[in-house]
C-alpha cells in the first residue's frame, strides 16, 4: 500500500435528502431525450411513408390517420416510459432516495411528459390537416372525444395528456410488479397490473376502448367529467404504486 496523501480536515456538510421535485426532474430529462428521439422518428415516418402513401391512395383519404395513432400508440409509448421509470427505482434507492419519493417523482415526471405528448398530438393534427389539405381533404375524426374539432387545442391536450398519464402509471405499476415478482409471475399478473387498470381508465374517460384493442364497453357516454374521473383514478393508481414500491427489496445476492 502506498502512503496516503495527507489532506486538511474538512467538515462534511449534513446530507440533505433529494426532494420529489429533484427526482422528477431527473426522470423527466431522461423522458425528454427519448421523446425527442420518438418525435424525430415520427417526422421521418411522415416524410418517408405517410406522404408517399397519401399520394398513392389519394382517393381514399378522409379518416384521420393521426387519430388512430394518438389514441393508442401515444399511450403505449408513455406506458413504456412509465416502465422505464420503474426500472430506475433501484438506481435511485441506491443513491439514498426513498422508494416513495422515487414513485412520486416518477408520477410528476410522467405528468409533465404527458402534457408534452398532448402538445405533440396537437402538432400532429395540424400537420395532418396541412398534408390532407394539399389534396383538398379535411381529416375526419371517427372516435369519441372531448373535443368536437382538432382546433380545440386545450381539449385535445387535456384528453391526450390524461390518457397518456394513465398509461404511464400503468407502465410504472407493471414495471414494479416485474421487479418484485420476476418474469413469469410478472407476466401472469398482467391482467391485474395492466389490462384491468387500462380498461377501467379508458371506460372512465368515456372513449371507445377498441382503439387500444380491448373489448371493454363504455360505462358513460362522452362527457367532460371523464378526464376528472380518470385523474381521480390515476391518483389512486399512484398511491398504489407508492405503497407497493415502498415494500420492494432491492435485489441482493444471498451472500
Amino acid at each position: 500500500m502506498t502512503a496516503s496523501t495527507p489532506r486538511a480536515h474538512v467538515p462534511t456538510a449534513s446530507p440533505q435528502s433529494a426532494s420529489v421535485i429533484t427526482v422528477a426532474g431527473w426522470l423527466f430529462r431522461r423522458n425528454l431525450n427519448i421523446l425527442a428521439w420518438f418525435a424525430g422518428m415520427a417526422v421521418v415516418t411522415v416524410l418517408l411513408i405517410a406522404v408517399p402513401m397519401m399520394q398513392r391512395f389519394q382517393a381514399e383519404l378522409g379518416p384521420s390517420l393521426w387519430e388512430a395513432f394518438s389514441t393508442s400508440g401515444a399511450g403505449w409509448f408513455v406506458l413504456a416510459l412509465g416502465a422505464l421509470a420503474g426500472q430506475y427505482l433501484p438506481v435511485l434507492v441506491a443513491q439514498g432516495v426513498t422508494r416513495r419519493r422515487v414513485v412520486l417523482g416518477a408520477g410528476l415526471a410522467l405528468t409533465a411528459t404527458s402534457l408534452i405528448v398532448g402538445v405533440l398530438i396537437v402538432v400532429g393534427y395540424l400537420v395532418e390537416a396541412e398534408l390532407f389539405g394539399r389534396f383538398g381533404v379535411v381529416p375526419r375524426l371517427s372516435g369519441e372525444h372531448l373535443f368536437a374539432s382538432t382546433s380545440q387545442y386545450a381539449l385535445v391536450v387535456l384528453e391526450s395528456a390524461v390518457r397518456s398519464l394513465h398509461f404511464g402509471l400503468v407502465g410504472l405499476l407493471l414495471s414494479l410488479a416485474y421487479y418484485r415478482y420476476g418474469g413469469w409471475l410478472g407476466t401472469a399478473l398482467l391482467p391485474l397490473t395492466a389490462f384491468l387498470p387500462i380498461s377501467i381508465g379508458l371506460a372512465l374517460l368515456s372513449l371507445d376502448p377498441a382503439a387500444v384493442g380491448t373489448s371493454w364497453q363504455n360505462l358513460n357516454g362522452a362527457s367532460g367529467v371523464g378526464p376528472l374521473l380518470l385523474a381521480g383514478f390515476d391518483l389512486v393508481l399512484l398511491a398504489l404504486c407508492a405503497w407497493f414500491g415502498s415494500t420492494l427489496a432491492l435485489r441482493t445476492k444471498p451472500t
Binding site: 496523501t5 495527507p6 446530507p15 435528502s17 429533484t22 427526482v23 431527473w26 434507492v93 432516495v97
Partner: protein
C-alpha cells in the same frame, strides 16, 4: 460524532429457505473503518444491504442513530452502499455522475472526476459495458466522492488491477482523514485491506463470530511451533483453532492474547521448552476460525464490543 451509530439487534434475513443472516447482534463503531469479513455466503452482502435500507430484515431491528433507516429519507441520504455488482442500470458514466450530483447533497463531482482519472475509467461509456475492474473502480469513485456519513463498500475492489486497488486504498485513507465518517468494507480477501481496519466484524454462516478492535484481534492469534509434546503441554488449557504437523514438529494456532491469556512470561516459558511463538495475521486467524476444521473453536460472539474510537 462523524457517522451514525449503527446497532443491529437479532437481525435475521432469509431468501426462501436460505437463511442469510441468523440473529445477528452487532454494533458498528461510529467514525471508524470496520472490516466486515466472512467467507462466500457468510451474509456480508445481505447485512450491508440491510444497513443501507435496500431491504427490510425478516426479523430483528437495525437502527442508525436510534431510528430505522428503511424509507427514512434523512438516514437513507446519509448512507451510501457501493456493491460490486453495481446499481446503475443502463446509464453511462456521465449520466451516472449527473444523477449522483443531483440527488446526493454531499457528493463532490470534482473529486469523483479526479478519481475516475486516477483509476483510468473511460468516460461516456455505458457502465454495464465496462470491464469488471472498471465497473468496480467507477463504484469506488462514486462511494468515496459521495462522502456519506455511513459509507459501505461491498467487495468493491474485485476485478480491479493492483495499481487501481492500491490507488483506491490510498485515496480511501486520505479522504477518510480529511472527511471522517463511518466506513464498512466487506471482503474475503483480507491481506491487502486489513491494515486499514480499525475494527473487524467477522461473519460466519450468517452469525457474528467476532467483533473487535483490529489491534486487539491482531494480538489474538498466536502460533506455537516446536516438538509435539512440548507444544501440547504449552497449549493445554487454551483455545486451539488449528494444528499442523510435519513429522514430530507441530504448529498449533491459539486464539489467545499473547500477554493477558498466555501470561507475561509466555516468551520465556516457550523459549525454555525450545518453542517458537509468533503472531498470526488477521487473514490467517480468519481462515482458521472459519474453516470449519478448528480444533477447538471459540464461542461465537453474542454481541460485539463497541468501543468508541479515540
Amino acid at each position: 460524532m462523524t457517522g451514525p451509530e449503527v446497532v443491529i439487534q437479532d437481525v435475521s434475513v432469509a431468501f426462501g429457505r436460505t437463511e442469510a443472516l441468523r440473529g445477528v447482534n452487532a454494533r458498528v463503531a461510529p467514525g471508524a473503518i470496520t472490516g466486515l469479513i466472512g467467507r462466500n455466503g457468510a451474509g456480508k452482502s445481505t447485512l450491508l444491504a440491510s444497513l443501507a435500507a435496500f431491504r427490510k430484515p425478516n426479523a430483528g431491528r437495525i437502527t442508525l442513530d436510534g431510528q430505522d433507516p428503511y424509507e427514512n429519507a434523512g438516514l437513507m441520504a446519509a448512507t451510501c452502499l457501493i456493491r460490486e455488482s453495481g446499481d446503475f442500470a443502463d446509464l453511462n458514466t456521465g449520466q451516472a455522475l449527473a444523477l449522483v450530483t443531483s440527488v446526493r447533497s454531499t457528493f463532490s463531482r470534482p473529486y469523483a472526476e479526479e478519481l475516475l482519472e486516477r483509476f483510468r475509467v473511460p468516460r461516456r461509456r455505458r457502465i454495464d459495458k465496462l470491464s469488471r475492474g472498471q465497473r468496480s473502480a467507477f463504484g469506488a469513485a462514486i462511494g468515496l466522492a459521495s462522502r456519506a456519513p455511513l459509507t459501505l463498500f461491498d467487495e468493491v475492489y474485485l476485478g480491479m488491477d493492483a495499481p487501481t486497488r492500491y490507488a483506491f486504498y490510498d485515496e480511501l485513507l486520505a479522504d477518510y482523514a480529511a472527511h471522517p465518517r463511518t466506513i464498512v468494507i466487506s471482503s474475503h480477501l483480507i491481506e491487502e485491506v486489513e491494515r486499514m481496519f480499525e475494527y473487524v466484524l467477522v461473519l460466519d454462516e450468517g452469525r457474528v463470530l467476532l467483533n473487535e478492535p483490529a489491534d486487539t484481534l491482531r494480538q489474538r492469534g498466536v502460533r506455537v511451533i516446536g516438538d509435539e509434546r512440548a507444544v501440547e503441554e504449552f497449549v493445554s488449557g487454551h483455545t486451539v483453532i488449528s494444528r499442523q504437523r510435519l513429522g514430530r514438529t507441530v504448529a498449533a494456532t491459539l486464539f489467545a492474547d499473547m500477554g493477558s491469556d498466555l501470561g507475561a512470561d509466555a516468551g520465556r516459558r516457550a523459549a525454555a521448552k525450545g518453542l517458537e511463538l509468533e503472531h498470526v495475521s488477521i487473514q490467517d486467524l480468519f481462515v482458521h476460525l472459519t474453516s470449519g476444521q478448528a480444533a477447538d473453536p471459540p464461542a461465537r460472539a453474542a454481541e460485539a464490543p463497541s468501543k468508541e474510537p479515540a
